[in-house]
């Protein structure tokens, strides 16, 4: 199971990630990403993997990373 992790100490609500992954991430009233599933690190379905990698590359603050987790 691939998961998307936000480094909150870097995130500044730039908003590229929620643009690319609207099903995974919403935006709160302050501009910061909100995991729609409520999980801290949302699971990334296989069909969204490439887009998620794009989001990781694209975040101007390098606040995102993908990792493999069990379950």
């Amino acid at each position: 199971m691939t998961r998307l992790h936000v480094d909150w100490t870097r995130c500044d609500g730039h908003g590229s990630c929620s643009e690319l992954l609207p099903e995974l991430l919403g935006v709160d009233e302050f501009g910061f990403p909100v995991s729609r599933s409520g999980e801290r690190d949302p699971a990334v379905p296989r069909r969204d993997r490439d887009t998620a990698r794009h989001a990781v590359r694209n975040c101007p603050l390098m606040a995102l990373r993908l990792y493999d987790a069990d379950g």
């Binding site: 909150w8 995130c11 302050f30 910061f32």
Partner: protein, 399 residues
């Protein structure tokens, strides 16, 4: 021949700073191998006394087999304003805490053993006791979040005392990039006793799932505030009674990140399972009694403002959300008759939970949500423009 400490007078009857007297009272500190230490910790069922309550054996095992020599840290930052247990423990029984650190350091061939004191802790006894022992004692900068594991590691690495992204656990890379074990000072003292007297002795107190004793700091509307030791699993009433609560309306269990328990529920046992029903946990043993002469909303608004000011402002949700919660709670306390306020506070508390590098927003949200829940009648009164507390504001209009 030393006698093992009794059921509930284990930690605070220390021999002070004299090492000889300490050894005469408790006996020689055994040197355990790594595996023997892990076995003792597993058998004893010791859990962390710093707030998270994590099984100590699991924490130690995470660094015990690190490829490079690890670093062990005793956390006596005492960052919770309502807590005094680690300061008192170090004042009365510093050698016991040092024993715990040395036992771990020897068993795991640690590169460094550090005891970190917060600015509120009187360091005199600890520095005196540490002379000639294998532990570095340092007094560090404070702040509510400074005692958080990664913030502490950051400070020891010469950086500001603010948390880092928890993705890399300190047990993988912490101080100097080495596997780092951070244990609360009281946990270390408990460890120092159980390696001498055995897991069976340790388990003679407390419950099967939560054995041993614990230090509790009792404050607020009580005749005799202070730090006491009690068996785990004791009822809240039994722990509080000797402190002589005065006209209590509720008890804040767990400090500023804790939750409220009403006076009618004082028979709840201080265990993880029993307290879970109240959204609370034993935490670091803080028990703050709110008297009937204190408006709970006003009190909570003050705490929320403090918590917002203690945000390290690294993470958007916390830096934005906590001041909002505090402002709304302050308006509720002042009697602003905006019936949307409770829902707004709830919404904000849900919004900040789980979205930050540390648990500061989560704990603050928990405290605020518990306040609105337990004192819902009081909140309703405020929304009607009056305060049930005799000396509370606002007053019902006299007409």
């Amino acid at each position: 021949m030393t006698t093992a400490p009794t059921l509930t007078r284990r930690l605070l009857d220390g021999a002070g700073t004299d090492h000889g007297a300490h050894l005469a009272r408790y006996g020689v500190l055994p040197r355990l191998s790594r595996d023997d230490l892990l076995a003792a910790l597993t058998d004893s069922g010791l859990t962390g006394r710093g707030g998270a309550g994590f099984p100590t054996a699991i924490k130690v095992r995470a660094v015990a087999y690190a490829p490079r020599r690890p670093v062990v840290i005793g956390n006596a930052m005492e960052s919770e304003p309502l807590s005094a247990k680690d300061a008192v423990l170090l004042g009365r029984n510093p050698h016991l805490v040092l024993d715990g650190l040395e036992t771990l350091a020897r068993a795991m061939r640690a590169r460094r053993a550090i005891l970190a004191l917060g600015p509120e802790v009187d360091p005199g006894a600890t520095f005196a006791a540490a002379r000639g022992r294998e532990v570095e004692v340092v007094q560090l900068e404070g702040g509510f979040v400074a005692g958080q594991e990664t913030a502490l590691v950051n400070q020891l690495n010469g950086r500001p005392a603010i948390p880092r992204d928890p993705f890399t656990r300190v047990t993988e890379a912490g101080v100097g990039g080495r596997a780092t074990l951070v244990l609360n000072a009281e946990t270390l003292a408990q460890l120092a006793l159980l390696v001498r007297y055995g897991a069976g002795w340790f388990r003679a107190a407390g419950t099967t799932e939560d054995p041993g004793t614990s230090l509790f700091t009792i404050s607020g509307s009580v005749g005799r505030p202070g730090v006491v030791e009690a068996e785990r699993g004791s009822s809240l009433r039994d722990v509080l009674d000797p402190a002589q609560p005065l006209r209590p309306s509720a008890v804040l269990v767990g400090g500023y990140h804790g939750a409220w328990v009403r006076t009618s529920d004082l028979d709840v046992r201080l265990t993880r399972r029993d307290l879970a029903a109240y959204g609370a946990s034993v935490g670091a043993g803080v028990l703050h009694v709110l008297g009937t002469d204190t408006c709970p909303i006003g009190f909570a608004a003050g705490v929320a403002e403090y918590l917002a000011s203690e945000s390290t402002r690294q993470c958007g949700p916390c830096l934005n959300g906590l001041p909002r919660m505090a402002t709304d709670l302050a308006r509720l306390a002042a009697g602003v008759r905006d019936h949307g306020l409770p829902a707004e506070v709830q919404r904000m508390s849900a919004l900040v939970t789980g979205r930050g590098a540390c648990a500061h927003p989560d704990g603050s949200a928990r405290f605020v949500a518990s306040t609105l829940d337990v004192f819902r009648d009081h909140v309703a009164a405020h929304l009607e423009g009056w305060c049930p507390t005799p000396t509370g504001r606002p007053r019902r209009s006299d007409s």
